[in-house]
């Protein structure tokens, strides 16, 4: 049995959905993208002053045509991420603007080298089923930042990629690059390597850029992930239930636009819902209510059987300290128990602003614990205990049993050296290190063991050509050294 927990009574889910449908039909949703507005209008939505009133029947038809499951594939063409059901997978957080310098503790502006370092570490950690375009590369022109990040990750990783476009026409160029990597349009469509986050602006607002992205992705049959970001008490109702209604309304309206563009194309009910901190005005990613919003929103999606996504494991701490471990550890468990298909956010500090390879390593330990938890308690032997008792005799030395040797690896998660379970003596003799120190050592080990995955020369050339062309238009003659 995969353990899971729920926060919403079936009756409450019904009320949430009833209000979500009422919001999109009565209050309506701002749709600034002409292509999206045209699709809605042609399908019978009333559009007045840029606000689309989407009938419940239209939205329900769209929800029906969404595929209940689909996979993302690695470079070898094997399925490596499954969206749907209660599968739980993790990927690092996206689009940070700072990175934590592990030596000076400075939060620096991010550059290509920081992205490469993060990608290498995430590539080496099996806890991350997918990569993300983790940080913004500040030394390249902003207009091509989305395409360039994807290029950097593709060069350094075989894993599927969670990414996103920054501009109305960003997605087609990025899809073009993925097609080069996959060997063509049909190949990418059959085995998508990436999924694109698309963010509505709270409350209930599809900007030109987000709306166009939804339509482009659906038509290209490249998976889209709706990232609804209610901010309870600021950009959405202060109550968790009220914010879950808004989250549902944003996801449903986005799915409607997406499915009208291409019925049956893969799309995920996702988001980064959070509360709003009434003291600092930030979005506390480590708050328990933020975790609750993510789990509950996924539960609403599951009432339709839809694939899910959430944003967890980001911490509000500024360095790798107890707060970082506590917040991200709790979030990993909650997301896993919520059965959220893709949980983004590992590695993040300072709300959503800062990334850290050392935190990725620490979070991998929390994720490993959560993954062990999901295995549950299993009856691995014919009798649970009687046969083993019969074998050990009076001494009761279970360490000698072949069963112990055979089964302990399945039964026990073995943490890396980041987690200290050694004796006091050995801790004292190895320099009285703390978690941060051990995480730094582990990052260096992983970087030392990393090997860049092979990529056919002509494929790399093809991808590079696309980026270089965009760079020239943006006024950058030479790409940074990779």
């Amino acid at each position: 049995m995969q353990p899971n927990f729920s926060l919403l009574e079936p009756q409450l889910i019904k009320r949430i959905l009833a209000e979500a449908f009422a919001l999109i039909s009565q209050r309506g949703v701002t749709v600034q993208a002409p292509a999206a507005a045209e699709l809605l209008s042609a399908a019978g939505a009333r559009i007045e002053n840029g606000i689309a009133h989407i009938p419940e029947s239209l939205a329900r038809r769209a929800l029906e045509s969404v595929p209940r499951e689909f996979c993302l594939y690695n470079r070898g063409g094997e399925p490596a991420v499954k969206y749907g059901g209660n599968d739980v997978q993790f990927d690092p957080g996206s689009s940070c603007v700072h990175v934590l310098d592990p030596d000076t503790l400075e939060h620096r502006m991010t550059q290509t080298a920081d992205l490469v370092r993060l990608v290498k570490v995430a590539e080496m950690l099996p806890q991350y089923a997918a990569q993300s375009t983790a940080v913004v590369c500040n030394e390249v022109p902003k207009e091509m930042g989305d395409l360039y990040r994807l290029f950097v990750v593709l060069l350094h990783s075989k894993k599927p990629i969670v990414t996103g476009a920054f501009s109305p026409h960003g997605a087609p160029a990025m899809i073009g690059m993925l097609e080069v990597e996959s060997g063509g349009q049909a190949e990418l469509r059959a085995k998508p390597r990436g999924i694109f986050d698309v963010c509505p602006s709270p409350p209930l607002h599809w900007t030109e850029f987000a709306g166009e992205n939804l339509v482009d992705l659906a038509r290209a049959w490249v998976p889209a992930e709706i990232i609804s970001m209610p901010l309870a008490g600021a950009a959405s109702p202060v109550t968790l239930a009220g914010s879950i209604v808004q989250h549902a309304a944003e996801c449903i309206s986005g799915i409607t636009i997406h499915q009208l563009a291409q019925p049956g194309a893969p799309v995920v009910w996702g988001g980064a819902p959070a509360i709003f901190d009434m003291r600092s005005g930030i979005t506390p990613m480590g708050a328990i209510e933020t975790c609750m919003l993510n789990v509950a929103s996924a539960q609403v999606a599951k009432s339709f059987g839809l694939p899910t996504h959430g944003y967890l494991l980001g911490s509000d701490a500024k360095t790798i300290d107890a707060q970082a471990g506590q917040e991200s550890g709790v979030a990993a468990l909650m997301g896993a128990l919520g059965g959220i298909n893709m949980i983004s956010g590992a590695g993040m500090l300072d709300s959503l602003a800062c990334h850290s390879a050392e935190k990725l390593v620490l979070d991998a330990e929390s994720i490993a614990m959560a993954q062990r938890l999901l295995q549950g308690v299993q009856a691995r032997t014919e009798t649970l205990a009687l046969d083993m008792f019969a074998k050990v005799g009076a001494q009761g030395d279970f360490l000698k049993l072949p069963e112990t040797r055979k089964l302990f690896r399945q039964e026990q998660h073995l943490p890396t050296k980041v987690i200290d379970r050694g004796s006091l003596n050995s801790w004292e003799q190895t320099g009285k290190t703390d978690t941060f120190h051990r995480a730094k050592e582990r990052v260096n080990e992983l970087l030392g063991a990393y090997k860049r995955p092979e990529l056919q020369a002509d494929v790399e050339r093809g991808m590079r050509r696309i980026v270089e062309e965009r760079a020239k238009r943006g006024g950058m003659e030479r790409l940074p050294e990779l």
Binding site: V97, S201, L231, G233, R279, I282
Partner: protein, 215 residues
């Protein structure tokens, strides 16, 4: 009697009650109380109290925002009365605020506006998705001391540079100070685009604005 009214005015701000603030302002007008005095001896003291308690962590953003709303309700009635008698309310300075073109994020900018008003600045909020030119035009129109440019996205923060350049073209620099804010914004970005400063949150924005005014 009058002191009691002033005390109620202060309390209406502390309670974040715009209806009450409006009602008390109307009463003051009806009773012929000097409107400037009503603001300075009544409502402003409420704003100060809220500001202090916020800094001490005893009040929170919703308290602050609703206090600001109550203050707005009061000044909407009292300002025209002050102008009628040919006087002017003394402020710390005039600030034009807006979220830059392409960006529709409202919360941070509005909070800064509330905090600045609460601290005694006169704030002109241009809203969101504001074209570069509008900052300069408004700054000229109201003879602003400071403009504040907000951007929440890494993609739109380049617009802050655009606004600074537009201000320079209009010959408004360095007389009109520029402060910037938003999640991706840093001091080094402020330096790079020749802004006068960056505030990491609404409280820091107030400190910065006061510093830019030499106060």
């Amino acid at each position: 009697m009058r002191d009691e009214l002033f005390e109620s005015m202060k309390q209406s701000i502390v309670d974040g009650d715009p209806d009450r603030a409006r009602e008390l302002s109307q009463r003051a007008v009806a009773e012929g109380i000097n409107p400037l005095e009503a603001i300075n001896r009544g409502f402003v003291l409420g704003m100060n109290a809220v500001g202090e308690q916020f800094e001490q962590g005893e009040m929170f953003l919703p308290d602050l925002v609703l206090a600001g709303e109550a203050m707005k309700a009061a000044t909407a009635i009292l300002e025209p009365e002050i102008q009628k008698v040919g006087a002017a309310r003394e402020t710390l300075g005039k600030v034009v605020l807006g979220t830059v073109k392409g960006d529709i994020h409202e919360i941070g900018k509005t909070l800064v506006g509330t905090m600045l008003s609460a601290s005694g600045f006169e704030v002109f909020d241009l809203g969101v998705d504001v074209p570069f030119e509008n900052f300069a035009v408004k700054a000229k129109e109201v003879n602003a001391d400071i403009i504040g440019i907000s951007a929440l996205l890494t993609t739109t923060m380049t617009g802050q540079k655009g606004v600074v350049e537009t201000m320079e073209r209009h010959g408004l620099r360095p007389r009109v100070k520029v402060m910037i804010g938003g999640a991706p914004v840093t001091q080094s970005w402020a330096n790079e685009i020749r802004a006068d400063g960056y505030g990491k949150d609404a409280m820091a924005a107030v400190t910065l604005a006061k510093r830019l005014m030499g106060k």
